[in-house]
């Protein structure tokens, strides 16, 4: 077990190292003077001189890379061209919003998807099954931002059931402790703030969770079907045992393993979805941060972003692999 973790961590470091080289090369490959590229619109002679000195653009390439690496290790991921704020601190400020949204989306996907997939499999061929499979196909092929816009238009503007944007009503003077607004409201016992934050989460979570939901429905359904057709289950059925006796729990347990594997894989896809969803709903998470950075070609932000996300992504996958290894002893051996 330990060797697995150590080996994976080692791989992670290697990957990050490789990424840093790639990113370094990327900025240098941009047309024009790298200092100018980093400053963008605000390039003035004084500014260019300052940036050149700070990043050492006038020094040999290998030295530049070492400076770059040194800054990274110290947590200096650069500063946004647009706002001037350090990239890392903006990440940590905005990360909770995206996490809250992602957790809500995944929760939705699991809580709705697993039972739905299970029932669809148990009643194969029925209306629910067809709806589930068809719906999950749709969930995958409809572009996320289009879905977000549609949801907003129908459920928020037309029906008025939910707010259109943001994380919380501006007029509620809520106290924020952790940055997770729903949680904060609970912690500070400001129930209306928590409820309001929850209302603001529904539509974005629906939009973001549509793809994970679709995938989980299909995986659960396929998994349950496989278990149902397993020999010992068939034997039990042939012997006349009632379906209810064939423990639901047994089937569900087997179905959940592939679901948890998928959840790990979803991390990267969730980020892409978050970029689009947060922009449509004006949520100040890292997704909309990336959107702004792309629009403005804010290279320091883009660089820092890729590194940060790669780190998170790899760590999440490591956790999933480790927990998978804990659950299934065969994996540990390989």
């Amino acid at each position: 077990m330990l060797t697995l973790i150590v080996r994976r961590l080692g791989l992670l470091v290697l990957v990050l190292f490789g990424l840093s080289i790639l990113l370094f090369a990327w900025v240098r490959a941009l047309p024009g003077d790298p200092a100018r590229a980093l400053l963008g619109q605000k390039a003035t002679p004084a500014g260019i001189a300052e940036v050149t000195a700070r990043y050492g653009f006038d020094k040999p390439v290998w030295q530049q890379y070492l400076t770059y690496l040194g800054r990274l290790v110290r947590g200096d991921f650069g500063a946004s061209i647009n706002t001037g704020q350090p990239v890392l601190s903006t990440f940590t400020e905005r990360f909770p919003a995206t996490i809250e949204l992602s957790v809500a989306a995944l929760l939705l996907a699991v809580v709705v998807g697993v039972p739905l997939g299970y029932v669809a499999a148990r009643r194969r061929g029925g209306l629910l099954d067809n709806l589930a499979v068809g719906g999950s196909l749709l969930g995958v092929v409809v572009p996320v931002f289009f879905l977000a816009v549609l949801l907003k238009y129908v459920l928020s503007i037309w029906l008025g059931w939910f707010p259109t944007s943001g994380r919380q009503d501006a007029r509620i003077d809520a106290t924020h402790v952790t940055g997770f607004y729903v949680l904060d409201g609970l912690l500070t016992r400001e129930w209306d703030a928590s409820w309001d934050a929850l209302k603001h989460l529904v539509l974005p979570a629906l939009a973001l969770g549509s793809i994970p939901l679709a995938i989980i429905v299909r995986i659960t359904r396929a998994s349950v079907l496989e278990v149902l057709s397993e020999d010992h289950v068939r034997t039990a059925q042939a012997k006349g045992l009632a379906r209810s006796v064939i423990s639901r729990r047994h089937i569900l347990r087997n179905a959940l393993l592939p679901v948890s594997t998928t959840l790990g894989l979803q991390a990267g896809a969730l980020l892409s979805g978050a970029v689009l969803t947060e922009t449509v709903f004006s949520i100040n998470g890292i997704g909309s941060y990336l959107f702004d950075a792309v629009n403005q070609l804010d290279y320091p932000v883009l660089q820092g972003f890729i590194l940060f996300i790669a780190l998170v992504y790899a760590l999440v996958n490591l956790v999933v692999d480790v927990s998978y290894g804990l659950i299934d002893p065969r994996v540990r051996v390989s």
């Binding site: 004084a46 647009n82 039972p115 259109t164 944007s165 129930w191 409820w195 569900l252 941060y289 299934d328």
Partner: protein
């Protein structure tokens, strides 16, 4: 994007202990229900300063005004800003010596109650409002005014940069010690706090627009002690916009004080109860940042915000129909088709005249600009000094256009057409639509168009103003104060990459007109210059689009200003219960 929508499910053979989802599901739904009930019944444990309600006939007064802004401000220090969002907020916190009459460009008393100008136009004496204090308790007096002027004059290094002290540079042209070779001798020659409480500001040369320029939010009076203490001068070599002063501690004399700033989300202002003038009617003013125009409209329709700026032309009718208030800002801007004379073919006057005749301004207005927009005949709007009613015009006439092109030997002219994306400006609400309108008119007379679209931020301005590789482009300008120099002086005061021509006669005329001291002389000087410009035709002025604001039905007391001098102390919000 998922690698593949359907990964294969591995088959486990042994039963593994996992948490039953059914139980978890029940638990989750129960807790959500509990939360909903709790929030409905229970009293919150914090003091409810947010929404105090006092009933009056017809509806209840609400203590908070929520405005939908389009982006975070650059910083809270207007001395280093040039974007409307920073100024929108700084206008609530800071005030200048001179203000404007609400809804107009006419000068009105601000922190100065009256002023006199010397005969030679080289000094101005301001009588100040008495009993005014900064929000940190320090007094506002003549010494404070001098301190502000001296602060700007003594800025060094990065703080002098064009992206920081933009307005100071454009008005005063230079600092005490110029660190940027592009700067010259400063217009500022010193100021004194007189013994009778007035303050005198001296200039090195006369500047006709001086008083009008004092209405600019960049020259709002700040408490220089707090500025210095909070690192707001950039003396430590760091960007003053990131200083503690500019991010969390601005100190002014205005009707609101800064309370909190949640980046990317909203900025909160609280009423200044020690304000010397009419205290704000609402206790809290919040600016919510929503970058998409449609999303802002939707937020208004949903009640999430009480008002917003830069209403898309397409939304005006929708909002009016749904009983929202739509206010037009009197047009104080100009949208133009810039022509780069350094581009092959465009240096020929006949070609430019042909382009002018090819454009049907009324059609462009009808197809892509808001209702109430007037087509433009020159590079200043009609409410600016020096507007020339009898200027040379170029009527829509495609045949003449083709003839002129043929005469110039450019019957198959091929040009680049640069336009921006991802932006909406007051003078250019929908650049893509405007581009489409104009380019199809140009193609109709045989000109071949190569579209070049760039993101507004960071590339577009850099391309059309920073280099020579562009053909015709869309751009415009919203006037900051009522002075023609603020329009045509900015455009044509010197040779630039944007226009690509060198006409010393025009440059000199503009420089001279800038120093004229009497309004009559100013008017006739600028009328002549406008005629000169429209004869030389460096570009085609298209229109003065009318930007609008939209408000919920319960909002009152908001007066739209052509120069965006909108202070919210007069705004009241009531909600029908």
């Amino acid at each position: 994007m998922p690698e593949s929508p359907m990964p294969h499910a591995p088959t486990p053979e042994s039963t593994q202990p996992t948490r039953p989802t059914r139980r978890a599901f029940t638990l989750a739904s129960l807790s959500v229900a509990a939360l909903a009930t709790a929030s409905a019944c229970a009293k919150s444990d914090r003091d409810s300063g947010g929404s105090g309600e006092s009933s009056s006939s017809g509806g209840s007064e609400v203590d908070t005004f929520v405005f939908g802004g389009s982006a975070d401000p650059d910083s809270l220090d207007p001395a280093f800003a040039s974007d409307g969002e920073t100024f929108r907020i700084s206008r609530q916190i800071f005030e200048g010596l001179v203000s404007t009459k609400p809804g107009t460009t006419e000068l009105a008393p601000g922190l100065a109650t009256k002023w006199t100008q010397s005969q030679d136009g080289l000094s101005y004496t301001f009588t100040l409002q008495q009993g005014v204090k900064f929000s940190n308790g320090k007094p506002f007096d003549a010494a404070a005014v001098v301190a502000n002027f001296e602060r700007w004059y003594n800025l060094r290094g990065l703080a002098q940069g064009e992206d920081l002290a933009y307005y100071y540079r454009s008005i005063f042209r230079g600092f005490k010690t110029n660190d940027d070779p592009a700067l010259t001798t400063s217009l500022y020659a010193g100021s004194t706090a007189n013994s009778d409480g007035t303050v005198t500001v001296n200039l090195t040369t006369p500047f006709a627009g001086f008083l009008a320029s004092m209405t600019l939010p960049a020259f709002g009076m700040q408490e220089t002690g707090a500025v210095e203490a909070g690192g707001g001068n950039g003396t430590d070599g760091k960007d003053p916009r990131q200083s503690a002063y500019a991010t969390t501690g601005p100190v002014g004399t205005g009707p609101f004080v800064f309370s909190a700033w949640e980046r990317g989300q909203q900025l909160t202002l609280k009423r200044n109860d020690a304000y010397w003038g009419d205290k704000a009617k609402v206790a809290t003013a919040i600016v919510r940042f929503i970058s998409d125009g449609t999303a802002r409209r939707q937020a208004l329709q949903n009640g999430d915000i009480d008002g917003y700026d830069l209403v898309a032309p397409a939304d005006v009718a929708t909002l009016k129909g749904a009983d929202f208030q739509v206010q037009n800002r009197p047009a104080f801007n100009i949208l133009y088709l810039g022509i780069n004379q350094a581009f092959p073919g465009l240096g020929d006057l006949k070609v430019r005249q042909a382009i002018a005749h090819a454009i049907d301004k009324d059609a462009v207005v009808k197809n892509s600009l808001p209702e109430g927009t007037k087509a433009a005949t020159q590079f200043v709007p009609d409410n600016v000094i020096g507007y020339n009613k009898d200027v040379t015009t170029y009527a829509y006439d495609p045949d003449t256009a083709k003839k002129l092109l043929a005469e110039a030997g450019q019957a198959n002219l091929s040009i680049k057409f640069n336009y921006p994306t991802g932006v909406s400006r007051p003078y250019m609400p929908n650049p893509e639509t405007i581009y489409k309108a104009i380019s199809s008119q140009l193609t109709a007379v045989g000109i071949q168009i190569t579209p070049v679209a760039e993101q507004w931020n960071p590339n577009y301005l850099g391309t059309v103003q920073g280099g020579a590789d562009h053909g015709v482009h869309l751009l415009g300008w919203t006037g900051d104060y009522n002075d023609p120099d603020n329009f045509i002086g900015v455009f044509f005061g010197a040779q630039t990459n944007e226009w690509g021509f060198n006409d010393p006669g025009l440059f000199d005329a503009l420089a001279k007109a800038r120093t004229v001291t009497s309004e009559d002389a100013q008017t006739s000087a600028y009328e002549d210059i406008n005629e000169q410009i429209m004869t030389l035709l460096p570009g085609i002025p298209i229109a003065s689009p009318v930007p609008s604001l939209a408000f919920a039905a319960g909002v009152s007391g908001y007066t739209a200003s052509p120069v965006q001098d909108e202070v919210w102390n007069t705004v009241a919000v009531s909600k029908d219960s």
